[in-house]
Symmetry: C2
Subunit: 256 residues, 2 copies
């Protein structure tokens, strides 16, 4: 039985999409079967994996409204073992269209639950907000990975995010856990980075992944080639750090 | 008669808040009267200017629902000539609470229009989404400044943003213009940065500000002191670039 994990943080630009793509790809390279679901109407995870957001393509919107067969919604990627449910532009409208539906927060959960049989990991890349799509993703998930940029504003938003996770746990999904906080865009030469790390590790202790993702230009170049960084430049620090994260995640899972 | 300018881009973490705070502060230092309105429930602009988001404070939520007198909603900052309307946590709920109100997209416009008599510039810091608060801000504005991080995903989102601006112009605010595209977090040593600049200047020509905002650690340190960068370290490249941007904005205004 696979695990469903949301990659969420309402603070913008903290590395949610970069983490979703490269963690899923690293696990696929380690012979796990993975599905990446792009829950952000921006569709960055879709483009970053070479997926199609065009008129004729089907994606999460179709999955949630049930308008297309699964075989059209789930597509393969350049990496064996990694499939994708992309985001299409109409995803922006899903919230309004589902507003009258009963139990609309459970929509994604109902659609993804059967897929836990086929995938070891299902990752949900969330938009930078705590609205309908993020709540749907958290309601469908076993746990949440919180990418945290080592900056002042990113730290400020953590309290609000943890409140939302607690609210989803109490109201919609009692088994939702925090998988871990992941320090991203880490620059050891920068005082602010080290201060944020000290504060976060001091406060959240073992909930913070040991693996740190360094600032690495290869990570921001790979998406323009529609590839995860391990297919773009596996020797880079960026690729190596996500491979290490994948290993840490698997080991955590084995211990439980 | 002052000008109302939205700082908007649905891509997260591109420098919207940093631009709103430091451009407004730079104009205030140049003897213009400025008001910064924090339209993002995250409240980063509020904290970055030393404002209070606590239980007892009033802010944009109260302004939009008309539940507090203006004297409690508009507060002064450390910088003479720069006032703030902060974001409080209840701002998240404004969309739902205003859903039954007539012409709810015009709410902010009606509240801000009279303030154009008292301020030379009113800046609206938008959240990373194209939802209700951003549409309200654009409907209230004369123009939009688009901060653009020199990265692949940020470029991808530009088309969607320009579509939304056109839609607001056609349906809600016929005089809405693009003030300019501002290149942010610019790192001249990075190929991707230069490629993005070439593409954007090639395509958008004079709509792109001459002033470029470099990546500069002082810009990310200043918010933790609740100060704009010109009060934190005026000699820094970050502070100097926003002073140059203020000058370019004023000169553009004079030419029209
Ligand atoms: N470790 C890193 N080193 C260098 N660049 C990075 C790193 N992680 C992400 N980036 C780049 O920083 C930008 C923001 O990252 P990303 O888009 O993954 O964040 P996000 O949280 O998904 O953003 P949004 O809030 O818009 O969804 C992107 O251009 C990405 O390529
Ligand atoms: N030119 C710059 N150089 C270095 N750091 C910067 C620069 N501009 C912004 N930052 C930092 O990068 C992060 C993102 O910037 P900011 O929060 O202003 O973006 P935003 O677009 O407002 O994000 P959001 O989408 O969450 O509202 C912040 O931590 C900020 O301090
Ligand atoms: Mg993203
Ligand atoms: Mg912001």
């Amino acid at each position: 039985m696979g695990t469903i994990i949301s990659i969420a943080n309402q603070k913008g630009g903290v590395g949610k999409t970069t983490t979703a793509i490269n963690l899923a790809a690293s696990l696929a390279a380690a012979e796990k079967t993975c599905l990446l679901v792009d829950c952000d109407p921006q569709g960055n995870a879709t483009t970053g994996l070479g997926g199609d957001k065009g008129e004729g393509s089907a994606g999460l919107y179709d999955m949630m409204l049930g308008s297309e067969p699964e075989s059209r919604v789930i597509v393969s990627t350049d990496l064996p073992g990694l499939d994708l449910v992309g985001a299409t532009a109409n995803l922006i409208g899903a919230e309004v269209e589902l507003v009258s539906m009963e139990k609309r927060e459970y929509r994604l959960r109902r659609k993804l639950f059967p897929l836990k049989e086929r995938y070891d990991y299902i990752f949900l890349d969330c938009p930078p907000s705590l609205g309908f799509l993020t709540v749907n993703a958290m309601t469908a998930s076993d746990s949440v990975i919180i990418p945290l940029q080592c900056e002042f504003y990113a730290l400020e938003g953590l309290t609000q995010l943890l409140k939302t996770i607690r609210a989803v746990r109490q109201g919609l999904n009692p088994s939702l856990d925090v998988e871990g906080i992941l320090l991203t865009m880490y620059d050891a030469r920068n005082n602010l980075t080290v201060q944020v790390e000290d504060e976060v590790r001091g406060h959240f202790k073992a909930a913070v992944f040991q693996t740190i993702i360094p600032r690495n230009v290869r990570l921001s170049e790979a998406p323009s080639h529609g590839k995860p960084v391990l297919l773009y430049d596996i020797t880079s620090k960026g690729a190596q750090s996500y491979l290490a994260l994948a290993k840490e995640l698997v080991e955590r899972g084995n211990r439980q």
